[in-house]
């Protein structure tokens, strides 16, 4: 028996607000430089990639970051902290409202636009990347986690380098 339309709507609104809250916490984790906590937003068995929209449109799989388990996310953070040399910067994510595309046995399918501003140490804030998250979220012990986050970025000509996750 299906739910009445009003109940469906309430359930949907609750899911959307839960996803929006999750995304906001995710963005603040990065922007506040709490990167050691960042992998915890993901399920153990997960995929995360940052891929140019141009490659997606051409059906090409190469990305600029591609992790297919949570360990690789941790490796990225360790490399950033201990190995990589890059201009110090602040990140600032501005997120749009999530769109809930589907909810099935595999999880919650949603999309969210983002704008990422970068402030390097000259003090100027530049638009570094615009794009969207294409997500599948699952519930582990009641808590939402990312099963799959594909960051598809429009700004496919990168300014110098990317080290901090989006």
């Amino acid at each position: 028996m299906s739910l009445p339309a009003a109940a469906m709507n309430v359930e949907r609104q609750l899911l959307l607000s839960e996803i929006a809250e999750f995304n906001a916490a995710y963005a603040h984790c990065i922007d506040d430089d709490q990167l050691e906590q960042w992998p915890e937003f993901f399920a153990e068995d997960c995929e995360y990639q940052i891929i140019p929209r141009e490659n997606v449109d051409l059906g090409l799989p190469a990305a600029i970051v591609f992790c297919d388990n949570r360990g690789m996310l941790i490796d990225r953070v360790v490399a950033l902290r201990k190995a990589n040399i890059y201009p110090a910067h602040y990140s600032r994510h501005v997120l749009g409202a999530p769109v809930l595309l589907d909810a099935d046995g595999r999880g919650l399918h949603s999309q969210t636009s983002y704008v990422l501003m970068l402030t390097r140490m000259d003090g100027e804030t530049r638009l570094f990347s615009a794009g969207k998250y294409v997500d599948v979220m699952v519930r582990e012990n009641g808590v939402l986690r990312l099963k799959n986050r594909s960051v598809v970025f429009d700004t496919h000509r990168i300014d110098t380098l990317l080290v901090t996750p989006i």
Binding site: P52, N55, I64, F66, G71, A83, H156, L161, V163
Partner: protein
């Protein structure tokens, strides 16, 4: 008005001003990029099918690299032969024909002018045959497509010279590649600072290699008199694999560790590398005196298993290039060399410099002096006179 640039007497020194001088940059575009050099513009794998095309800049000149209906790859100026309008705007795609929207002139994929509406009112003697897209001299090596705007450029094989073997190896041996995708980046750096520091450099910069206990192995460096460099090096096993949660990322699945790293650096600034299981061509374009755009194109080999392709995708997406965990430091260095070059004086090469009165070609793997034959060639090409006094 700046003082004229004085080229130093010692061959291991270069004036920092050459990285920042806007008038010199204009001369370089004419002399080098529009001049008698080959420029790698595409790999056949990027435009594998008839009708596939890719647009690029050759120096400042827009060009179309097109795979014709006849399966032949040609390079055309991306400019309508009527009034000069840019014909194609997409960075790549597939077309039955190239149409200029201004007066609807339509060109076949082999460059021939097929349609030009209203030609009965054109100038006396107008003949469509004379108005095909203007084609550049083109040559191919292991699928890598080169073009030159000059009639004086020597044949490609002799231009490549001693770097050809390494180049073939870096392109998978036979050049039968498949495109995996692009990483595109702009560096706030003069093209020479990019080309002088991409390719190979002492591994001191990359802390990642040290943390992994992965300092490479024996190898060789071969400069050519016309500014190319070839590197071939062993890759030793990683000592501290446990440093990574997922060390499978740095496995070698299709690469002999004895020749694990191959780098062909072509004058003026194209780098082709096969490092670990990554097959990568870096198509660079000078944008201005202080900006260089580089398109990192990644490939698999036509004979790869599905599992190997996935491994190459993982390595291509995580290790090298402007977002690669073990090498993004390069990007920082390009920009910092450029900023530092606004100070007076010369940059001085030291490691492996045995003499300062002339260049030599017998260099060791990690010698900075491998860059000196290129600088000597550049100095001559641009018509600089070396100072008489030290």
């Amino acid at each position: 008005m700046n003082a004229p640039i004085q080229w130093p007497k010692a061959v291991n020194e270069i004036p920092k001003a050459i990285f920042t001088d806007a008038a010199l940059y204009e001369r370089e575009i004419e002399t080098i990029f529009h001049g008698a050099q080959w420029h790698a513009l595409a790999h056949r794998a990027e435009i594998a099918n008839p009708g596939d095309f890719k647009t690029m800049l050759l120096g400042r000149m827009p060009v179309i690299v097109a795979n014709g209906e006849d399966g032949k790859i040609r390079v055309f100026f991306n400019s309508c032969t009527h009034r000069g309008n840019q014909v194609e705007m997409a960075s790549c795609g597939n077309r039955k024909a190239f149409e200029c929207p201004y007066h609807r002139w339509m060109f076949r994929t082999n460059g021939e002018l097929a349609i030009c509406p209203g030609s009965e009112e054109f100038s006396p003697g107008f003949d469509k045959k004379d108005y095909g897209l203007r084609e550049l001299r083109t040559a191919e090596f292991c699928g890598l497509i080169f073009a030159t705007a000059s009639a004086d450029t020597p044949a490609l094989e002799s231009w490549l010279g001693a770097v050809a073997g390494t180049l073939a190896g870096a392109l998978g041996g036979d050049g039968r590649l498949k495109l995996l995708g692009y990483q595109k980046v702009r560096y706030a750096s003069n093209w020479k600072a990019y080309s002088d520091n991409d390719g190979y450099h002492a591994p001191l910069l990359h802390v990642g290699f040290r943390l992994l206990g992965w300092q490479g192995g024996q190898g060789s460096q071969k400069p050519t008199p016309n500014g190319h460099l070839a590197f071939e090096s062993q890759l030793k096993p990683v000592v501290n694999r446990d440093f990574l949660k997922d060390p499978s990322l740095i496995d070698l699945k299709a690469t002999d560790p004895e020749s694990g790293s191959l780098i062909a650096q072509l004058f003026p600034h194209t780098v082709i590398t096969k490092h670990m299981d990554v097959i990568n061509v870096r198509f660079a374009t000078p944008i201005s005196v202080d900006c260089t755009e580089v398109h990192y194109a990644y490939f698999s080999h036509a004979d790869d298993s599905e599992e190997l392709v996935r491994h190459r995708i993982r390595q291509s997406s995580n290790l090298l290039g402007p977002c690669g965990m073990v090498s993004m430091e390069d990007a920082s260095i390009f920009n910092r060399i450029h900023i530092g070059s606004f100070t007076p004086g010369n940059a001085k090469f030291q490691k492996g410099v045995k003499r300062t009165d002339e260049v030599w070609f017998d260099v060791k793997q990690n010698d900075e002096s491998g860059n000196l034959p290129k600088w000597n060639y550049y100095c001559q090409l641009m018509g600089f006179q070396r100072s008489e006094v030290a």
